[in-house]
């Protein structure tokens, strides 16, 4: 990469022997620092990633076959942690709830930002104001957003039942019933997260070449057809990436069920991550918690792999 470091003052190399020694030493020094400097600059990255990312990842795998109480050295227990998980009646429920949350979040939370973005880009005026408004919920810290919605969802005095009561609807139990709790969580999560996706879609929409629209219009395509045949195909890759990211994120949902419902009512909102948290930090069973973490990681990795393969074949079509 770097050029051979011949100090320029040594170029008129007519000087006698005593001076000739100096360039040599400088050369060796420079050669040394050429190896030391990159290592020094990489040190923070290697240390921080090593201690707080790479090592914990490996350790999770190891820990999933161990039992530890943080005081005595860990003991190997083979597959017993995984057996504990399978014997736990809550596991099936947690997996199902997580899948339901992810599915509902896709159903509600995926098309909505796209719709908003298309609408906003077509309207043209007031774009700056709309962008700020749309992103405002994302700026609210998630915990505050969740506490806020808990207050709105209150069945007796909450805003939602009051408003709906004015038009003769409800009162709805929202978080208090096993039938509606999960949907209520998804609605809150969609409110809290949609803004970021809208901004990304708006940027993607702006990158669609206008000539394509003009050509389609000359061919007599209606607005809807242009949207379907020009805009969406052009945004295919970003849509697929966003979908994958959303699935990965919603699979790890924690704050909503933890703060809003603590998994209830009747365990209807216990999610996989909440179960991991309970194993580790309520039950002190770090081994089983690690086993569940590793299983979750494996599922997410497989999902991503299948997904990336699919998108590659679609992308080249």
């Amino acid at each position: 990469m770097s050029t051979p470091t011949i100090p320029r003052e040594s170029l008129p190399a007519v000087a006698p022997a005593p001076v000739g020694k100096r360039p040599l030493r400088v050369n060796r020094l420079r050669a040394g620092s050429r190896h030391i400097a990159p290592a020094l600059f990489l040190l923070p990255t290697v240390l921080v990633f090593g201690l707080f990312s790479w090592w914990p990842i490996i350790r999770s795998l190891v820990l999933s076959f161990q039992q530890t109480n943080l005081v005595e050295p860990a003991t190997w227990v083979g597959l017993r942690n995984y057996q504990t998980l399978l014997d736990d009646p809550l596991l099936g429920k947690a997996v199902w709830n997580t899948v339901v949350f992810t599915g509902l979040a896709l159903l509600i939370g995926f098309p909505l930002p796209l719709f908003l973005a298309v609408l906003m880009s077509e309207l043209r005026r007031g774009g700056g104001l709309m962008r700020v408004l749309v992103y405002l919920p994302v700026a609210v810290p998630p915990v505050v957003a969740v506490l806020m919605w808990k207050w709105f969802y209150d069945p007796d005095t909450g805003l939602f039942n009051e408003v709906l009561g004015k038009v003769g609807l409800g009162p709805y139990p929202w978080l208090q019933s096993a039938d509606t709790a999960m949907t209520s969580l998804v609605v809150e999560a969609t409110w809290a997260g949609a803004g970021g996706a809208v901004l990304i879609y708006l940027a993607a929409l702006a990158s669609v070449p206008t000539e394509l629209y003009e050509a389609a219009e000359l061919d007599g395509a209606s607005v809807r057809r242009r949207l379907w045949h020009v805009t969406l195909p052009h945004m295919r890759s970003i849509l697929l990436i966003m979908m994958l990211l959303q699935v990965i994120n919603t699979f790890q949902v924690f704050t909503e069920p933890f703060v809003l419902t603590d998994g209830g009512p009747e365990d209807s909102t216990v999610t996989v991550l909440l179960l991991i948290y309970r194993y580790a930090f309520v039950g002190g069973d770090y081994g089983s918690a690690a086993a569940l973490s590793v299983s979750l990681a494996a599922v997410l990795a497989v999902l991503s792999a299948i997904y990336l393969r699919l998108t590659r074949t679609w992308g080249t079509k």
Partner: protein, 284 residues
């Protein structure tokens, strides 16, 4: 929609109506809840319960906010948050800049392996190693001590953020090599080249990474809750749900308002950069 279509009177009326409706909906959806928290924080609890739909309290209790500040000890939690956010920002930026500089400009032969290992963590969600990360901060390898319950437990793991390294490295890759070469020939060392040439040229990307780092650190909940169990040292986000169970509703809402204001103000001030940054990072 094309210009010709936009000029049709019916379309224009339709567009105008849609525009108004959309803005109204976005005001209610985006600003409404935040206003509602503000209103709730200056209303007495009884009034919030009696007239939940009133747009302004009969009697504004501005003192709620100062009462909440002292009785819930919000100043302390806010300070804790600021310390955690500031340190996380610094560590993230320091690690990403030094790492990206080594990988993009200095390029040691083992750089590609380190970069691959950094990028690999992008595909493994952080929550997956949460439990073992907790055990790691309890008994740190190398130094052997526990950093649990100290700001270090939040600062240092924040630095292991692969996306920052990726973004900054890609930006550094775009700096003309001739420029760095010229500086090297003039005898500038790696540190000088970084501080005098690379960093001043990288202000846009450093701003984006900084803003995202600060906003994300302010939002963090699960990890600070696990890493810092000492209630006196917890940030606002961790303290609020705990306070929610014990405090008077209007005081809690005042606490929520205090937690909302800083990130929302940061967003409103830097919204151009943030909006551009999100669009930019999302499209990468």
């Amino acid at each position: 929609m094309s210009e010709a279509e936009r000029r049709r009177p019916l379309t224009r009326i339709g567009l105008g109506t849609t525009q108004l409706l959309l803005i109204a909906a976005l005001v209610i959806e985006g600003a409404g809840p935040i206003y509602w928290v503000f209103k709730g924080s200056i209303s007495s609890t009884q009034e919030s319960l009696r007239h939940p739909l009133a747009l302004w309290p009969e009697e504004a209790h501005w003192s709620n906010i100062s009462t909440a500040w002292t009785s819930l000890d919000l100043g302390r939690y806010l300070m804790n948050t600021v310390v955690l956010v500031g340190g996380s920002w610094f560590v993230q930026l320091f690690v990403a800049v030094t790492g990206a500089y080594a990988l993009s400009v200095l390029r040691p032969f083992y750089g590609k392996y380190v970069y691959a290992a950094v990028l690999a963590t992008l595909f493994l969600p952080g929550t997956v190693s949460m439990v073992s990360l907790y055990l790691t901060i309890q008994d740190l390898p190398l130094t052997g001590g526990s950093i649990a319950n100290t700001p270090m437990a939040v600062w240092l793991p924040a630095g292991a953020h692969a996306f920052n390294v990726l973004l900054i490295k890609q930006f550094f890759d775009g700096i003309p090599k001739e420029l760095l070469e010229a500086a090297r020939l003039d005898g500038a060392g790696p540190w000088r080249i970084l501080t005098r040439i690379v960093l001043p040229m990288s202000r846009p990307i450093l701003a984006v990474v900084s803003l995202l780092a600060v906003m994300n650190a302010w939002k963090d909940f699960l990890w600070p809750m696990i890493a810092i169990t000492d209630t006196d040292k917890q940030p606002l986000a961790v303290a609020l749900p705990r306070l929610a169970d014990t405090s008077d509703q209007s005081l809690l809402i005042a606490g929520m308002l205090i937690a909302i204001i800083p990130p929302v103000v940061v967003f409103l001030v830097f919204q151009r950069q943030i909006v551009r940054g999100i669009a930019f990072t999302g499209l990468k």
